[in-house]
């Protein structure tokens, strides 16, 4: 039973991460290697709360706001134009986050920081697995609802227009930065909250588990693979990834790990350049019918 709950939690956590990543990669055509940074910010925010005896709920909220702040700064400074600079900056952030967290004593012990056991709802710790499963389902549900919301509101229409015909969209007064910035900060918040939940479920954090660059590359790749056409695509891709990651050593140590990471980076570049609509485009999906249009 616990094994099934563990699998379910991982599936919903990575489905939520994949959905948040797809807003960037699939909808806004932003390649970001920073999802693990936002994931780690959420994890370390609840770690600091545990270290100081505070409630992890406040830690999760604070981590989310810190992620939003970081995303907004990066977006405002580097998200103009085609976003190549932004991608490079997120790559640097992703590479620096793990050694940074390992070196800073105020973030807890450098290797693994196991949280003190304080069972209780206010401490976001439960004796059973099912409350974590329920919370992971809630986070995923909110992320998926935001996907549907994004597709039916102005930012979603603008992002669709920009990726289909950039020049024509600008002729109609569509600005590129505001909708891209919006999805970036919302994605950062959801990713950070997911990181907080994951850290509490694991009852600890470590720089390698939460902030490693390969994790960021994994999440970015899942978001790109799904594409924007099928609204459930990212969730399915995230769930499949969670199962694979649980069963197989996707990122082995040493040379093999470096080869895997290199191949992954190559896949991200190839999909972003050659198949920006993702790999699910062969699926027989109907042209989207606007729910705002009532039948004649």
């Amino acid at each position: 039973m616990d094994f099934a709950a563990d699998i379910g939690i991982l599936v919903f956590v990575f489905a939520a991460l994949a959905v948040a990543s797809s807003w960037l990669g699939a909808y806004a055509r932003i390649v970001s290697f920073a999802p693990a940074v936002f994931f780690g910010i959420g994890g370390y925010a609840v770690a600091v709360s545990n270290l100081r005896g505070g409630s992890p709920w406040y830690g999760a909220l604070g981590g989310g706001l810190a992620a939003v702040l970081l995303a907004a700064i990066c977006g405002l400074l580097f998200l103009r134009g085609r976003g190549v600079t932004f991608t490079a900056v997120t790559l640097a952030l992703g590479a620096l986050a793990e050694p940074f967290a390992a070196a800073k004593a105020w973030l807890g012990p450098g290797d693994v920081f196991a949280f003190p056991h304080r069972i209780g709802f206010l401490n976001l710790q439960f004796a059973a697995k099912w409350p974590y499963l329920l919370l992971a389902l809630c986070v995923f549900g909110v992320a998926q609802a935001l996907t549907f919301g994004l597709r039916e509101t102005r930012p979603g229409f603008y992002l669709h227009a920009l990726r289909t015909n950039f020049g024509a969209a600008q002729d109609l007064g569509v600005e590129a930065l505001p909708p891209r910035l919006l999805v970036l900060v919302v994605s950062a918040f959801v990713t950070s909250v997911t990181g907080s939940l994951f850290a509490e479920y694991a009852l600890g954090v470590s720089p390698h588990a939460l902030l490693a660059l390969p994790l960021g590359a994994d999440i970015a790749l899942i978001g790109l693979i799904a594409g924007p056409r099928w609204p459930w695509g990212a969730a399915v891709a995230g769930a499949v990834y969670a199962l694979l990651a649980h069963l197989l050593p996707l990122h082995p140590d040493g040379i093999a790990g470096a080869v895997v990471l290199g191949a992954e980076a190559l896949a991200i570049v190839l999909i972003a350049v050659l198949r920006p609509d993702g790999l699910f485009t062969a699926l027989p999906v109907r042209a989207r019918r606007s729910p705002m249009e009532s039948p004649a």
């Binding site: 102005r154 024509a168 969209a169 002729d171 109609l172 600005e175 019918r289 249009e293």
Partner: protein, 240 residues
């Protein structure tokens, strides 16, 4: 935060003119393609900008809407200087351009494409939907609302371009070679739609290679040759 320009609050110091382009100069890849273009457009009128291919008509439009930079000159819209403004900000003032290649968003439905334009004035989906439906009705595309834009024929794509532009509630519409690629009958049909826009009080400037390529009879004609406005504007007469 970019605010929309409220043209009603602007001081109308240009008399009856909504747009005044003076001595516009612009370069592209090192070559001066515009070398003194003057263009005055009366409010509510339809002006034809006539010239051969390469004369600089599209570049004039691109400079007006902020899609291309100009070297010098003035572009005043309701007395408000447009030169140096961002393209999206200019669009919010009510100056909208359509391009010969079309503004269709291939994998969107017709309704969704028009909603992109309608969202310029409101973030509320219900209001945007109402404006989009209105634009579709005026351009004769209501029946094709759920058709994919890339499945439309040439005439309906032109109609869709006009519907997208109309949904932004423009004051000044710059139509760049709107009849390109259309047959004679299709040009007549498009002329009916363009005429309906003019009847709604939208000021039109139509760029075309000749008057026969202009889908609507203009009230005023400005000729452009090799980036220079040729002579004084002419007024259309009955035998045009």
């Amino acid at each position: 935060m970019i605010r929309a320009l409220n043209v009603d609050k602007l001081r109308l110091d240009m008399g009856e003119y909504i747009l005044s382009v003076q001595n516009l100069r612009a370069r592209r890849v090192g070559r001066r393609l515009l070398d003194g273009v003057d263009l005055d457009v009366r409010r509510g009128s339809c002006t034809a900008l006539i010239g051969p291919a390469g004369a600089g008509k599209s570049l004039v439009f691109a400079c007006i809407v902020g899609a291309a930079k100009s070297e010098s000159g003035r572009i005043r819209y309701f007395g408000y200087e447009l030169r140096g403004r961002a393209q999206t900000r200019i669009a919010r003032t009510g100056v909208i351009r359509t391009q010969p290649a079309g503004a269709t968003f291939g994998d969107m439905t017709v309704l969704d494409s028009v909603l992109v334009g309608a969202f310029l004035r409101t973030s509320l989906p219900a209001r945007a939907r109402a404006k989009a439906r209105e634009a579709l009705a005026l351009t004769g595309l209501s029946a094709a609302a759920q058709v994919r834009a890339d499945a439309l024929d040439a005439l309906d794509r032109k109609r869709l371009d006009l519907a997208c532009a109309l949904a932004t509630q423009p004051q000044l519409l710059l139509l760049d070679d709107p009849a390109a690629g259309l047959s004679g009958d299709e040009r007549v049909a498009l002329g009916g739609v363009v005429g309906a826009l003019s009847d709604r009080g939208i000021t039109l400037v139509v760029a075309a290679r000749g008057l026969d390529a202009c889908p609507i009879r203009p009230g005023e004609i400005v000729e452009i040759e090799r980036g220079i406005t040729a002579g004084s504007p002419r007024y259309a007469t009955a035998n045009l």
